[in-house]
């Protein structure tokens, strides 16, 4: 493929992700909730952390519902295109504010989660570890990953998911001990207000749906490219359509697809993203139950919960240090998910400044993340305190941004899922649609179709 063709392919191929891959990314998001979150929740909810988790999952569900609304109505747009299509230049400015707020949100979240991992490394994996040795290597990874685009995350998820899932399952299995119902009782002893308060105080750990909002306009899906039925009608259809104007490796709402295909593929995206969040939530909920089962009311002292729960595992007394390997896989999952959030921060920042220079902004965002703990304090407690002072602002961003996006999306007609025809001409950045056309005109084979882009 000559450079010109490759360039035009890459311009679309780096910014797309398939339903399967986003499922993997979201499912892996459970790993960041297995370290400090249980003990933080136990600080207020004691034995009722599972209730706080359920509450936060419900919030996640609401945000996901807002995403579904936005995706179904205007999923072919990203936030900027959506606002610009509806409100013109003013909409563009509002979109920038939203992106700026989201960038701020993700930066704080990444800083907190990275500090948590530093604490984990310092307390569990190493006898003594270093703030610089934690942050700098990760930021190098984050910058590198972000500069490669969404495709890097999407394809990495395809490989990492299974290893991480095996690690999580292994750790959960090793954590299972004899169930002790007594530790769960009395239920709701901490009081509903404490349960709600501690849940909302730690809302930052949840909110994977915001990642989905960042990916609006970048979802793609594929069906089987060629039917194995080589009857005349099928063959003719393929000759006239698939061979010259492929329908895959393009955004879900590509102009070349008919409404039925778009509906089918958008359903698939919603299904997979929902399953991803469900899987992640289920793991966190089950772990919270295990945590309470093991530690009862003393859970608030059990930092780095995932490493603590396996200590009481009977198999480990015979096997020995077997838990280290799955523990490192969970840690790998956490780092990967934090890298995804880092990408979201960079992605948002580039929209604020209207540039696609991911590398430059990755370095900038990385620098900010590096400096915050130096200012606030390099310990997890210091960074958490910093986050705690901003928790209401961040909660506001978490709720208002999706509401705004979903609200604007509602203004797009439900019957016109192929609204890209009308709106593409109005959108301030219709490059995604143009690039989809360009890549189609290059008469891609189905492997390029299948494999082009995030998939």
């Amino acid at each position: 493929m000559n450079k010109a063709t490759q360039k035009s392919t890459n311009s679309i191929s780096t910014d797309v992700i398939s339903a399967r891959q986003i499922f993997f990314v979201l499912a892996v998001g459970c790993t960041v909730k297995l370290f400090m979150l249980p003990s933080l929740l136990a600080g207020g909810a004691f034995r009722d952390i599972w209730a706080s988790v359920l509450l936060l999952l419900a919030l996640e569900g609401v945000l996901f519902g807002l995403f579904v609304v936005a995706f179904r109505r205007a999923g072919h747009f990203n936030i900027q295109q959506m606002f610009s299509a509806r409100f013109g230049a003013v909409g563009g400015i509002v979109a920038k504010i939203i992106y700026g707020a989201l960038a701020f949100y993700f930066i704080i979240k990444v800083t907190l989660l990275l500090s948590e991992q530093y604490y984990f490394l310092d307390q569990v994996i190493y006898r003594n570890f270093n703030y610089f040795a934690t942050f700098i290597p990760f930021l190098v990874l984050g910058v590198y990953m972000a500069s490669k685009g969404l495709r890097a995350i999407a394809r990495s998820a395809d490989i990492l998911f299974f290893a991480i899932a095996a690690g999580v399952v292994a750790m959960l299995t090793l954590s299972v001990v004899r169930v002790n119902i007594i530790n769960f009782l009395p239920i709701f002893a901490s009081g509903a207000s404490n349960i709600v308060k501690v849940a909302l105080d730690n809302h930052i750990y949840f909110g994977s749906s915001l990642v989905l909002f960042m990916l609006l306009g970048a979802f793609k899906d594929k069906a089987k490219p060629y039917s194995t039925n080589f009857g005349y009608a099928t063959l003719r259809k393929e000759i006239l359509t698939d061979m010259d104007s492929p329908t895959e490796a393009t955004p879900v709402f590509s102009e070349r697809k008919n409404d039925k295909e778009k509906k089918k593929q958008s359903k698939r995206v919603v299904k997979y993203t929902g399953f991803g969040l469900l899987a992640s939530g289920l793991v966190v909920f089950v772990f919270s139950l295990l945590f309470v089962n093991l530690f009862g009311g003393t859970g608030y002292t059990q930092h780095n919960a995932i490493a603590q729960t396996v200590k009481y595992s009977l198999p480990l007394q015979f096997i020995g240090g077997l838990s280290w390997f799955p523990l490192l896989l969970v840690h790998l999952g956490a780092l990967f998910y934090i890298a995804v959030l880092f990408y979201c921060a960079v992605h948002s920042a580039t929209f604020v400044f209207e540039t696609r220079n991911l590398s430059l902004f990755a370095v900038g965002v990385g620098a900010v993340i590096f400096i915050i703990p130096l200012v606030a304090g390099t310990t997890f407690a210091s960074v958490y305190a910093f986050y705690y002072s901003l928790r209401f602002v961040l909660f506001g961003i978490k709720v208002v941004a999706p509401l705004a996006v979903a609200g604007v999306a509602l203004s797009f007609s439900a019957s016109r899922i192929s609204g890209s025809r009308e709106s593409a001409s109005k959108a301030s950045a219709s490059k995604a649609g143009e690039n989809a056309n360009k890549s189609g005109e290059n008469a891609k084979t189905d492997s390029e179709i299948l494999l082009g882009g995030g998939s």
Binding site: Q21, V140, R155, T228, N229, F230, D446, L451
Partner: protein
């Protein structure tokens, strides 16, 4: 008008141009050929004798040749830069035409009047026939290169399956492929590369299966090559690679015709270089290095197990030394106490830290490996014994190295040779991992691994993702990735390789 002397004068070493003169129809006929690459016997048998016999026949049977439409040029097959059309005399001589059509007993004949083309033909090993007074010369296929016979390739030995291997003769190699793929769709596109070597390059693919854009790209890269000489296919590899400075290869290679044919049936393109027994294949994915031709000649379950072991071996090769260094330098509390005591006892009073120790042992093994490659066979055995004794026994007893380090490095080295085609790349990466693990432990190893994964996940060979079908996941291709399925289950070609003709087996 071309003459033998003019052609001889083009050569710096005129003595190597052999000349055979005789009379034909009262005119001096001269046959030129290049010593050592042309068959002298064939000249006598297929050129001189038929001409003398024809001369001896009654005049009526000789007749005048058709003036002909001048079809000569096209019979020599495609040249990469198009047919040689310079100086073609559309009104060809009747004598030369008569010789070409009725006298010379050879299959490939062509009239030519361009001196440069005649020079090329001589260099290729053809014979050139001049007849006094004729404007054209006749190029007669007469190549007789000294080539190695077809034998089992040393780099791809199998217990079962074909044992043929390519040799250095391009024609033989093309012939081996043609024997495997007897289809009219098999295309051979040719090019001549190298200012001094004028090396023939053949690009083979199956029309209707191979992606045309990739073929075009490959031909463009080959035709744009401007180099003094091509001595091996490795020279061309550098020009075919899309990322020149990457540690990872982007062009596959094989010495076996069945493997090359199999890859072409999947949609790949094969490039052959005259003088090299190694065929190149593009696009290339990493999975190819993890597969072996012998997988297709053993039972599926066994082949699946072996493929899984290879992948495990790759992880062992890459991570075993790094994990050892991490554990001993940074994470001693992870190791079981009794095993930790063993390691501590073995490592006590050593002059080097575990990281440096592993690097030294790995370095010794690399030196040993290089020595073994260059040693004659009868000395190689001694080198192996010396290496094992020196490294394994003496160094440990002398307190220079510890037993665990030697064992880890040896295991890693053995695992590395499970994938001989990627041995160099993985060896380099494992050294990098050891350095990272020595500095940062498991965390550094995880970060390094993720960076490597991101690099490979976004790495492509002719727009084909390098880690396909694992990343991006292509479930269909998993049937022949780690799993080994029956041929009738592989109804479609791999989705990882671009092709518009996906159907392999009739539904």
């Amino acid at each position: 008008m071309v003459t033998p002397n003019k052609l001889k004068q083009l050569f710096s070493d005129e003595a190597s141009v052999i000349s055979r003169e005789f009379l034909y129809l009262g005119k001096t006929a001269t046959v030129l050929c290049l010593d050592t690459v042309s068959s002298k016997d064939n000249i006598n048998l297929f050129i001189v004798k038929p001409m003398l016999d024809a001369q001896a026949k009654p005049a009526a049977s000789q007749g005048t040749a058709n003036s002909g439409k001048g079809s000569g040029k096209g019979e020599r097959g495609k040249q990469g830069s198009g047919e040689s059309g310079k100086g073609q005399n559309s009104e060809s001589s009747s004598i030369m035409e008569h010789l070409k059509n009725s006298v010379i007993l050879q299959t490939e004949l062509a009239l030519e009047s361009d001196l440069q083309e005649l020079k090329k033909a001589l260099l290729m090993g053809d014979a050139v026939l001049f007849v006094e007074g004729e404007p054209d010369a006749l190029v007669v296929d007469n190549k007789e290169w000294a080539v190695r016979g077809i034998a089992e390739p040393p780099t791809a030995a199998v217990l079962k399956g074909p044992r043929e291997g390519f040799n250095e003769n391009l024609k033989d190699n093309i012939s081996l492929i043609r024997r495997k793929i007897k289809s009219e769709k098999l295309v051979v596109e040719r090019a001549v590369v190298g200012r001094y070597t004028n090396t023939n390059v053949a690009v083979m693919y199956i029309d209707g299966i191979a992606d045309k854009q990739i073929v075009k790209d490959v031909m463009r890269r080959i035709n744009e090559m401007d180099i003094d000489g091509i001595l091996d296919s490795a020279y061309i590899t550098k020009y075919l690679e899309t990322s020149r400075y990457s540690l990872f290869k982007q062009v596959g290679n094989t010495e076996k015709p069945d493997v090359a044919a199999g890859k072409m049936l999947e949609g790949r393109i094969c490039i052959f270089v005259d003088g090299s027994p190694i065929a190149l294949t593009v696009p290339f994915i990493m999975l190819e290095d993890l597969q072996s031709p012998s997988d297709y000649f053993t039972k599926n379950s066994r082949a699946t197990m072996i493929r899984g072991l290879r992948i495990l071996a790759v992880f062992m090769a890459l991570y075993l030394p790094a994990i050892y260094v991490s554990l001993v330098e940074h994470h001693t509390h992870v190791i079981k106490f009794r095993f930790l005591l063993t390691i501590m006892n073995a490592s006590a009073n050593l002059p080097l830290s575990p990281k440096h120790e592993i690097l030294v042992v790995v370095l010794f093994f690399e030196i040993l490996h290089e020595s073994a490659l260059r040693m004659p066979r009868h000395i190689g055995m001694a080198v192996s014994v010396v290496g094992a004794l020196v490294l394994g026994e003496t160094a440990v007893r002398a307190g220079m190295l510890s037993t665990p380090a030697v064992m880890i490095a040896a295991l890693s080295g053995i695992a590395l040779y499970n994938v001989p085609d990627a041995e160099g790349t993985f060896s380099t990466i494992r050294i990098l991992f050891v350095i990272i693990a020595g500095a940062l432990g498991f965390y550094g190893l995880i970060i390094g691994s993720m960076m490597l994964l991101v690099y490979l996940a976004t790495f492509e060979s002719y727009s084909v993702p390098y880690l396909a079908p694992f990343s991006p996941m292509v479930l269909h291709d998993m049937k022949d990735a780690v799993l080994k399925s029956n041929p009738d289950e592989l109804t479609e070609r791999p989705y990882s390789i671009p092709t518009k003709n996906r159907q392999r087996v009739a539904p």
